[in-house]
């Protein structure tokens, strides 16, 4: 398997707060990578760096063999990187369908019928089809999160970054979300997923990284990582009950 994403000595600080501290790691094509870490560890910032909404102070990001460090967010999106926002960012004046169409026409570069078909298919998959004609501004928080996922999928991404999309779901809803993500993954899309709902995360990913104070403190198979005392201490608290 080839490397799709490569971070090299990535560093970003806001004043005294370091959100990325010399991060280096690689993600292979087709992998599903989970990201854990306490609040404020720098997980969302890591996504911002990868998608180009934040510029690193130093270091290098490679995507599909190309150095994309200086690229704009828009260009990275064209190249195949998609994300969902932790705080949903819908186009509130437009309908759900139009939100999806933007991803399909602008990022994936599809036209007419093709774009429409893709949007319908994805909306169906994310169970938002019934709300297709509703203005995105009137969605509930959870529906907005689904819209985030929908839009990301409509860009036909190679690399999909998901930021906390399982929070607030009921058991059944969570299960159906997991199934959706598994489906996306099995179609060949590489996934990086930040999630505090650990059991959901573990049922999908085949590798975990743990971030604390912007530093990578663990990287490997989920099981051993979850059992490592360090993770138990800083993330789950000493006696894990999740």
């Amino acid at each position: 398997m080839t490397t799709i994403l490569k971070l090299q000595n990535l560093r970003k600080a806001f004043g005294a707060v370091t959100v990325a501290d010399d991060q280096s790691y690689e993600v292979r094509r087709g992998e599903a990578l989970g990201v854990l870490g306490p609040n404020g560890a720098g997980k969302t910032s890591m996504f911002n760096l990868i998608t180009g909404t934040l510029k690193p102070n130093s270091g290098r990001i490679e995507f599909a063999g190309k150095d994309i460090t200086g690229w704009s967010a828009a260009r990275r999106s064209h190249a195949g990187i998609a994300r969902s926002f932790q705080v949903p960012q819908p186009f509130s004046g437009m309908t759900v369908f139009e939100n999806a169409m933007i991803a399909a026409t602008q990022s994936a570069g599809l036209n007419g019928q093709k774009a429409e078909d893709l949007c319908i298919r994805v909306l169906d998959q994310t169970e938002l089809i019934a709300k297709a004609n509703v203005p995105a501004g009137s969605l509930t928080l959870l529906e907005r999160k689904r819209l985030e996922l929908t839009r990301a999928l409509c860009t036909e991404p190679e690399l999909l970054l998901l930021d906390e999309i399982a929070g607030g779901l009921t058991e059944a809803e969570c299960q159906s979300l997991i199934n959706t993500i598994k489906e996306i993954h099995s179609s060949g899309t590489t996934i990086i997923w930040i999630e505090h709902v650990v059991h959901a995360l573990l049922s999908v990913v085949d590798r975990l990284i743990v971030v604390d104070f912007g530093k990578l403190i663990a990287d490997g198979k989920p099981k051993p990582i979850m059992n490592s005392p360090q993770v138990k201490e800083i993330y789950l608290g000493i006696e894990a009950d999740a």
Binding site: Q89, S92, M94, I102, T105, A132, R151
Partner: protein, 339 residues
């Protein structure tokens, strides 16, 4: 369940009906020289020019989120270019109008580079300052009359057509085609892929950016094209006014405040809004303008009332009641009949 079971449509019955009515109205309007009086034609010409200005401003503010209070910069610039090109370069007025548009696009490039660094209210005020710089700058050009201004030589006006009636018809048709051209361009642009991108930017820049929309370039293109059109309209306006001076050419009230008023009254962010707003504005003006201060006070009160009571404008009020779109831009997803 997939695209077989769902259908996406972009038109409506109302739109098809109004397309037919619109074509008929257009034919009648083109024939105005044969049925309308001179004063009516002049008034309609002025109305069309305001309609064009309003549609352009609406494209910028209502769709691209560029709230400019400095469009008079380009109106005045176009007017001055008409004067300069006809008087000094000897161009035919119609050629000069086209050239004014081109020059308007050119000059808007450095302006855009500068003021696109600003957002929101800062952008609005920045555009105003730019317009002031244009005004004060043209006031320094003594060849064009400096602060005193200049009149368009009669010979140039007559080069449009030697007969007065023909001249008046040409002026009228120019104004009509400007309005039709602008409204049609705005409509087809907004239905295009780029148009969708524009609306997305207005709603949420962070998301637009991460979905592959080059925000700066999209806005830049809209700004430059709008400026070019606005400059052309400006040239047309001052071909009618015959006289230009910095204060008249770069009047914030005449070319921007009234235009904003029109768009907001009609309904911002819709294509229909500026059309309705223009009619309302002219109705008010024609009936009340002789009242002087009272007219202006009424105008102020109407602006405030509409903004408070119907922030989406008259067209918004109408749409809230009847779900009609004459210029459909959006998409409707519907379940296909199983049959």
């Amino acid at each position: 369940m997939n695209s077989q079971t769902y259908a996406v449509s972009r038109s409506s019955r109302a739109a098809r009906v109004s397309a037919i009515i619109g074509t008929l109205v257009l034919i009648i309007l083109v024939a105005a020289p044969w049925w309308a009086g001179r004063a009516d034609m002049r008034l309609m010409g002025e109305l069309f020019l305001y309609l064009a200005l309003a549609s352009l401003w609406n494209l910028m503010a209502g769709y691209a989120g560029l709230v400019s209070v400095g469009q008079q910069a380009f109106v005045g610039f176009g007017g001055y270019m008409l004067f300069a090109l006809t008087m000094f370069a000897g161009l035919h007025p119609i050629t000069a109008i086209a050239a004014a548009g081109l020059l308007g696009a050119l000059i808007s490039v450095p302006v855009a580079v500068l003021i696109f660094r600003l957002r929101g209210a800062y952008f609005a005020i920045g555009t105003w300052v730019i317009a002031e710089v244009f005004r004060l700058g043209f006031a320094q050009v003594s060849a064009l009359g400096g602060g005193s201004g200049s009149s368009l030589p009669v010979a140039i006006v007559k080069s449009l057509a030697s007969k007065r009636a023909m001249r008046e018809s040409i002026s009228y048709w120019l104004a009509l085609s400007a309005a039709v051209l602008v409204v049609a361009s705005v409509y087809f642009f907004l239905r295009s892929r780029k148009g969708l991108a524009l609306t997305a930017i207005r709603d949420n820049e962070t998301a637009a950016d991460s979905l592959g929309i080059d925000i700066w370039r999209t806005k830049f293109v809209v700004y430059v094209v709008t400026s070019a059109f606005t400059a052309m309209i400006g040239a047309l306006i001052f071909l009618q006014k015959l006289r230009i001076s910095p204060d008249a050419a770069f009047s914030v009230n005449d070319w921007t405040a009234f235009v904003i008023f029109i768009v907001v009254i009609g309904g911002i962010g819709t294509i229909e809004g500026p059309i309705i707003g223009t009619f309302v504005f002219f109705l008010l003006r024609e009936t009340l303008a002789d009242l002087g201060t009272v007219y202006l006070i009424v105008l102020g009160v109407v602006a405030i009332l509409v903004m408070l009571k119907a922030p989406k404008g008259l067209w918004g009020l109408f749409r809230a009641r009847f779900d009609v779109q004459i210029f459909p831009l959006g998409y409707r997803v519907s379940k296909r009949d199983p049959s």
